[in-house]
Symmetry: C2
Amino acid sequence: MKIGELAQVAQCTVETVRYYEKEGLLSAPARTMANYRSYGELHVERLRFIRNCRALDMTHAEIHRLLGLMDQPAGDCGGVNQLLDEHIAHVDVRMAELSQLKQQLRELRQRCQSEQAMDACGILQGLASMETEPRHERQTHLG
Amino acid sequence: MKIGELAQVAQCTVETVRYYEKEGLLSAPARTMANYRSYGELHVERLRFIRNCRALDMTHAEIHRLLGLMDQPAGDCGGVNQLLDEHIAHVDVRMAELSQLKQQLRELRQRCQSEQAMDACGILQGLASMETEPRHERQTHLG
DNA sequence: ACTTGACCCTATAGTAACTTCAGGGTGTGC
DNA sequence: GCACACCCTGAAGTTACTATAGGGTCAAGT
Ligand SMILES: [Zn+2]
Ligand SMILES: [Zn+2]
Ligand SMILES: [Zn+2]
Ligand SMILES: [Zn+2]
């Protein structure tokens, strides 16, 4: 199986596959005589796994950890469960941030109900007079 | 006013101020004889405005547009209102995405209630068997 | 006068997860 | 024998900063 076919079954681009190999998420496959990458079923499974993790917005670091845990079939899955809990917490943090943002934006939007002169716009006035607060450290990788 | 003082009143770092200048968000100030940047009240206002926009997770492109609209005081504020509506839509899209993600993660988490053997872990099984869907184009800049 | 320390300057590289591009080889159907 | 789809590598672009290297400026203390 060549890279184009692999990319198609995993719903991603050829460039993404090559990128994952460079990142160490996907192991380097055998090559044909023409130096083409040649993949098997295991690569398909692993790439689909990675894409599913990405669809859940895990980072490459998280996926790396997960793959590392999976590749030690002797142990128990406690680390897997924990990783998922941590990632769910990342999502929770970002959802809370966005809720607050949404509320602020709603209030700001209410300050101008119609098209006015520029310097009468309550939105611009609001943006100028907001309390500027220091950027706090992020507790989530979700932007 | 030197750059350190400006950064302090705007709750950001000196590097960020210099970066905004390079990006064209903040106009280049006068220089002292020692080649130090020298800022006035207008710079303070503009930087605070920018930081407030960033606190609302607007992109630099959005802030650029906003500053461009503000700098034409002759027009009405329709564009400002529209920009805010668009940005609120960005937040809405991302909140909806995260809600769905959270639901998926909750379901996935439920598939493993205790520490089991690695190949019995319902989470890993779930991640392996999820329907891999193509990445759709993003309708929001919020990660 | 000399040094220490806090501040300032520029330019460059690194972050995350890709995407795009330049410049080239391979393989198949007509 | 040639068009065209596919493959290869390596480098640069994306966003909004952050960090580092390597240097200049200035006020206070000794
Ligand atoms: Zn996470
Ligand atoms: Zn308005
Ligand atoms: Zn937006
Ligand atoms: Zn488990």
